[in-house]
């Protein structure tokens, strides 16, 4: 029997695998996808971005999406028919393989959203049951073990740190960042070099970044990117079983007894372990528990509270862009603009909270980055004229050539809180099933009107910077559409077993030996991408499990 069985090998599960196996415990990791190595990761746009090689075909595995409007009515979408895809990275290391690795810590007030900003009508805002101070040592640990590069600058909302700076120096940046820094200085904004989970030099038994020009969406061929696979699973002896889709957990007397999984050919297997850790990414973790009904838990495993699947959150906000065109640049500036490979790496957090004269709002983060370098996608964007008519022939070729060779787009992404609401949650469908015959997850989507207001406020600040830099064609879109790669909640942690699924250590209140360590535990999401917090929290829970297993040995 294994000491620990981990379901899902991404950022939520891997710190547990790393810590526990390095402490001498017998750990098995079950992963639905394949195991890729550095040498398998090429920059093949057709495979990665056009044919979605890292996610399952929707005809085999899909979601049902119910999109709610403010009136409480909803429209049902079948993921297969609509092409609405909520899968991220189905492989060893999960979507951390293909993240961009924009790493920001949550801030102390993010842990106390209710007591810092008060109630928001229609939103289920609460304080976390742990504080920033309790997580800080683990944010620090991630910097060192997974590897975070950058440079800490002082600013109004900078969070306290136990060390003065990040352990790895900044990655090299494109000359256009100077234009950004100057524009920010003129506007009295504080330009922050974006910390990245990308090694800027050889370290930790991995190679440093080689500036391939294709980071986000792609696997890293040098191991510089701090994916759960490169940074953790490849640095420990945990056993990894691939092609293992866990579809049910069973329990007896308040303990998980076994996990059941299918291979892609439908062969059924059973795993026994002392402790089970679930980390299949928020939506799938809730789905598995809801699909694991038994006599003890008729409403789903660990669901005596009825809170399982509730308060799903994404990251609110949106994105925008501006274009720099050769006509308005000197020869030197043109050269700097077109320099491939180097990063942009700038963020703004000047409005992490802000006042509109009546009250203080929780704001968020803006990251700036060059438009993704995928060539086919960039060409595809040139197919229509300004009136929306399809172009072809010479006209089309001329437009493509001019746009791609004499201009470049700088984009920005806004991250603000997706407020938790009653109509945003996970359930399972009564009819739709995946290729194994297992009920698919239903994603009930709802966004709070405040999410859009805050996003707009931040986007307008980003626009000021782009204007200051001399960009043209400036545009942005703040919307209620959820980014599938930024998802959290569904198994809130808390001190009260009646109102939360997990306790403060991310152990199910209802079960002695079940932990959930992906982003499911988060009651609110903060206004930064989630990966750093998922890693940090999972390292924290690893310490708890380690103590528990050590105690049981004595």
């Amino acid at each position: 029997m294994y000491d620990v069985c981990i379901i899902g090998s991404g950022a939520g599960g891997s710190p547990i695998a790393y810590e526990l196996s390095n402490a001498g415990f017998n750990v098995v990791v079950l992963e639905k996808g394949k195991n890729y190595k550095e040498e398998d990761f090429s920059k093949d746009e057709l495979a990665v971005s056009r044919r979605d090689m890292f996610t399952p075909p929707l005809k085999e595995q899909k979601h049902i999406i119910n999109e709610y409007s403010q009136s409480g009515k909803f429209v049902r979408y079948d993921g297969e028919e609509s092409g609405w895809n909520f899968w991220n990275g189905s492989m060893v290391g999960g979507s951390s393989n293909i993240m961009s690795g924009y790493f920001h810590r949550m801030k102390p007030k993010d842990f106390k959203l209710l007591s810092s900003y008060g109630e928001v009508k229609g939103a289920n805002v609460i304080d976390w049951c742990i504080s920033y101070d309790e997580l800080e040592p683990y944010y620090d640990k991630v910097e060192k073990v997974v590897g975070v590069s950058g440079k800490i600058v002082k600013h109004k909302f900078a969070e306290p740190r136990s060390t003065p700076d990040l352990p790895y120096p900044m990655l090299e940046t494109n000359g256009v960042t100077d234009w950004f820094d100057k524009a920010c200085k003129d506007l009295k904004f504080t330009a922050i070099p974006t910390p990245r989970a990308v090694l800027s030099q050889n370290a930790l038994g991995r190679y440093g970044c080689y500036y391939s020009n294709f980071c986000g969406s792609y696997g890293c061929a040098s191991g510089a990117k701090g994916s759960a696979r490169a940074a953790l699973l490849q640095k420990c002896d945990a056993e990894i079983i691939t092609d293992a889709f866990v579809y049910k957990l069973d329990s007896k007397d308040g303990k998980i007894t076994r996990a059941y999984y299918y291979t892609k050919h439908g062969i059924k297997h059973i795993i026994n372990a002392k402790i089970f850790v679930l980390s299949a990414q928020a939506i799938e973790s809730s789905r598995l528990l809801l699909n694991s009904k038994n006599e003890e838990f008729p409403n789903g495993m660990a669901n005596s509270s009825g809170e399982l699947g509730k308060n799903l959150v994404f990251s609110a906000g949106g994105s925008g862009s501006g274009r720099f065109i050769f006509e308005e640049l000197t020869k030197e500036q043109q050269k700097a603009l077109m320099q491939p490979g180097l990063f942009f790496n700038r963020s703004l957090q000047d409005w992490y909270d802000y006042d509109d004269g009546c009250r203080t709002y929780k704001g968020g983060t803006i990251d700036f980055l060059f438009e993704h370098q995928n060539l086919i996608s960039r060409v595809n964007r040139e197919m229509y004229d300004e009136e929306g008519n399809l172009l072809w022939g010479e006209k089309l070729a001329d437009k493509i050539h001019k746009t791609l060779t004499t201009s470049r787009v700088l984009t920005f992404e806004v991250f603000n809180d997706w407020l938790p609401t009653d109509n945003c949650n996970v359930s399972v469908d009564d009819e739709a099933k995946d290729k194994w015959g297992v009920p698919v997850g239903v994603i009930n989507l709802n966004s709070h009107p405040q999410d859009l207001e805050v996003g707009e406020h931040l986007a307008k600040k980003a626009v000021e910077v782009l204007e200051g830099m001399g960009a043209v064609e400036i545009d942005y879109s703040i919307s209620a559409s959820p980014p599938p790669n930024l998802v959290a909640g569904g198994c809130r942690f808390g001190d009260n077993p009646k109102t939360s699924v997990l306790d403060k250590n991310c152990k199910a209140h209802d079960l002695e030996n079940l932990y959930v360590t992906d982003a499911s535990f988060m009651p609110t999401g903060g206004s930064v991408p989630y990966t750093w917090t998922i890693y940090a929290n999972s390292f924290r829970v690893a310490d708890v499990i380690k103590d528990k297993l050590k105690a049981s040995k004595h």
Binding site: S42, K43, L46, M53, L375, N389, L390, W392, L404
Partner: protein, 163 residues
């Protein structure tokens, strides 16, 4: 979706199988997807031919791809039928038998309809995949598409095609 409403799907689905174009109630002509798409791609994006890029053969990869749904493949072939029907309507000839300026007139008329425009959009996307995808897929002749756009590609390049 428009194209779903307009026509029931055909069952057969490969490049060389016959596409039957009706003129009213009688069979007007039998053509193949390959011939029509090849001529059409050159009408939409002649730059590819100029660069020595074989976009027509790439459609063969699309039609066999494990990560492209059967529906999408059938849609490609249905569009061939629609385009030829437009050609027959306007000039009483199949698309490939028309003169260059006649084909342009057919395209203009065809692109006015949302179902026509969506299908041309799809053909263009696959044409761009052929022209600007990694040369390992066999169409982006010696990186000619990349060189035209001063694009260097990302390293490492794939060692095998993903089908």
């Amino acid at each position: 979706m428009d194209y779903l409403k307009r026509r029931a799907f055909l069952k057969a689905g490969f490049l060389s199988s016959a596409v039957i174009v009706m003129n009213g109630c009688s069979v007007f002509v039998i053509t193949t997807s390959r011939d029509t798409i090849k001529v059409l791609q050159n009408d939409l994006f002649p730059k590819a031919k100029e660069l020595g890029i074989n976009t027509a053969d790439y459609i063969g990869i699309v039609l066999k791809h494990s990560h492209i749904s059967q529906e999408d493949k059938e849609y490609l072939k249905n569009g061939v039928k629609w385009l030829n029907e437009s050609a027959v309507e306007m000039y009483k000839k199949q698309y490939t038998k028309l003169l260059a300026h006649e084909r342009q007139e057919v395209l203009k008329s065809f692109a006015q309809e949302s179902w026509g425009s969506s299908w041309l959009d799809t053909i263009l996307r696959y044409t761009f995949e052929a022209s600007f995808g990694d040369p390992i897929y066999g169409s982006n002749n010696n990186k000619a598409g990349w060189k035209w756009l001063e694009f260097t590609g990302g390293e490492p390049r794939p060692k095998k095609v993903y089908l």
